[in-house]
Subunit: 220 residues, 2 copies
DNA sequence: AGGGGGATTTTGATTAGTCAAAATCATTAA
DNA sequence: TTAATGATTTTGACTAATCAAAATCCCCCT
C-alpha cells in the first residue's frame, strides 16, 4: 500500500500537472505545494520513480506514469466524495470540508467509499464543482471558462471554484457566488483589472481579475 | 498532537487495564496486543511516560495517567461513534465495522465527530454494546453479567459482545445473538463446559463457556 | 544458597520522511 | 565567452517507530 505521504505526493503531482499544463512538474513547485524543502521533493520523487509511479528527468521535473496517475485519481476520488458527503450528509459548510477531507481521504476503505458514492447517488462533482473521478479512474471533461472570459451581459451558471482557501470561499458564499448560481458579467474594466458580476436580486459586485479567474462558468 | 501510534498505544493500554482488572499492564501483554516485539513496547512506554501520559514502573508495567486516560477515552469515543455511524448511516454490518473504525478514528476531526454524534442522537453504546465515552471523557457504568452467569430459565437481554473478531460476530449474527435480543439460558452442563441458549423462535443453541463468556446480558 | 526460566530491558540497526547547508548545474546577462 | 543567478541535487544528520538478539532481572524450585 502507498503510504499517506506517497498518496499526497501523487495527488499533488496530478494537480500541478493539471493547472500548470506543462509536461513536467518542477521540484521547486512540488516542494512548495507539499510544504517541504526542495531536497525532500527530489528524494521523494526518486523513490517514486523507483516504484514506477512517476517518471523523473533530473533537473527538469517529474511526470506521473499511468500507474501513478491511477493512484492519484483514486485519492482524488476519495477526497472529493468525502467533501460532498460532509456537506450533504453531515451538513458542513463547503468552505471547511477541504481540510477535513485531506485527512479522511487516507483512512477510507473501498467498501465505505462505495457506500458513500451510492448514498450520494454517484455524483459527478464535489461541492466546489471539481469533477469526481470514477472508480475506474476516469474524469469527465468539462467545457468551462473563467468568469472574466464570459461574454458581458450573458447569463451563465457558476460551475466550479478553483481555490480551496476557506476565507475566499466564505467570501464567495456571502456574496452568493456558489456553484449552480446564475450570474451575469455586467461590466469589465481593463484598467482597473476588474469585472463586475450580478447575482439575481443582489447589488452588482466588483472582483479583481485574479479572484474572478478562480470562478469557472459554463461555456455556452 | 498525539501521533496515530501514540493514540493506539493509549487506547490499547486502556482496554488492557479494563479487562485485566490489574493495576499495571505488563509490557508483554501490551506488546502482543499491539502486535510488536516486547522491546518496542518498553521503549514506547518510556516515551509515553516522558510525555506524562502513562506512569511506568520498570519490570512491573504501565498505567495510564489521568491525562493519558482522557486521551484514550477520546480515541475510544471516536472509534465507537464511527462504528455506530457506519452501521446506522452507511449500512455496514456490525461484524465489519471494527476494522474500518480502526483507521477512521485517527482521521476524524472534533467538528465532524460532533456532527456524527448529533446525527445519531447522542447514543450511549456502539453496535457491539460497548459504551461510548462522552466528549468530556465519562463512561457510563453498566451492570452486566456474562451469559454463563445468568440464571437458568430467566429471560434476559443481550447487552454487549466483548470480541471484535468478524467471524465470531458473523456466527453470532446468524444465530440471532445480537445486542438487544432476548435470550434464555435453557441448560448448562459443567462437564461439557457448555451452556444452551434459546432465542425467540429458534432451536436451542449450545455454546462453549469461553464463547458464552463473551456475551454479556443485563443483570436483573 | 544456587540455578533455571521466563519476562523485561538494552543495544545496535533499519526504514521513511524530513531539514540545513554545501555542491552542482543550466541559463541568462554582459 | 564568462560570470552571475537561481534552481536542483547531494550530503550528512535527525526523529519516530520498529526488530533481532544479547543482557539483565526476578521469582521459584530444589
Amino acid at each position: 500500500m502507498a503510504s499517506i505521504t506517497v498518496e499526497n505526493y501523487l495527488k499533488q503531482l496530478y494537480l500541478e500537472q493539471q493547472n500548470a499544463a506543462e509536461e513536467l512538474v518542477a521540484m521547486g513547485k512540488l516542494a512548495s505545494a507539499m510544504g517541504v524543502v526542495p531536497g525532500t521533493a527530489t528524494s521523494m520523487v526518486k523513490a517514486l520513480a523507483d516504484s514506477g509511479l512517476v517518471s523523473y528527468e533530473p533537473r527538469f521535473g517529474a511526470r506521473l506514469t499511468k500507474g501513478g496517475e491511477q493512484l492519484a485519481l483514486h485519492v482524488l476520488r476519495r477526497h472529493r466524495l468525502v467533501e460532498l458527503f460532509l456537506v450533504k450528509v453531515l451538513g458542513l459548510d463547503w468552505s471547511e470540508v477541504h481540510d477535513e477531507a485531506e485527512e479522511l481521504e487516507h483512512a477510507i476503505s473501498e467498501k465505505v467509499l462505495e457506500r458513500i458514492d451510492k448514498l450520494l447517488g454517484h455524483p459527478s462533482v464535489d461541492p466546489h464543482g471539481d469533477p469526481i473521478p470514477t472508480a475506474k479512474g476516469k474524469v469527465s471533461e468539462e467545457r468551462l471558462v473563467a468568469l472574466p472570459e464570459a461574454e458581458t451581459g450573458a447569463r451563465t451558471k457558476i460551475a466550479r471554484v478553483v481555490d480551496q482557501d476557506a476565507r475566499f470561499l466564505q467570501f464567495l458564499d456571502r456574496a452568493g457566488l456558489r456553484p449552480g448560481v446564475m450570474v451575469t458579467v455586467s461590466a469589465r474594466d481593463e484598467n482597473a483589472d476588474s469585472i463586475s458580476v450580478k447575482v439575481e436580486g443582489r447589488a452588482a459586485l466588483t472582483l479583481g481579475t485574479a479572484a474572478a479567474m478562480k470562478i469557472l462558468v459554463e461555456a455556452i
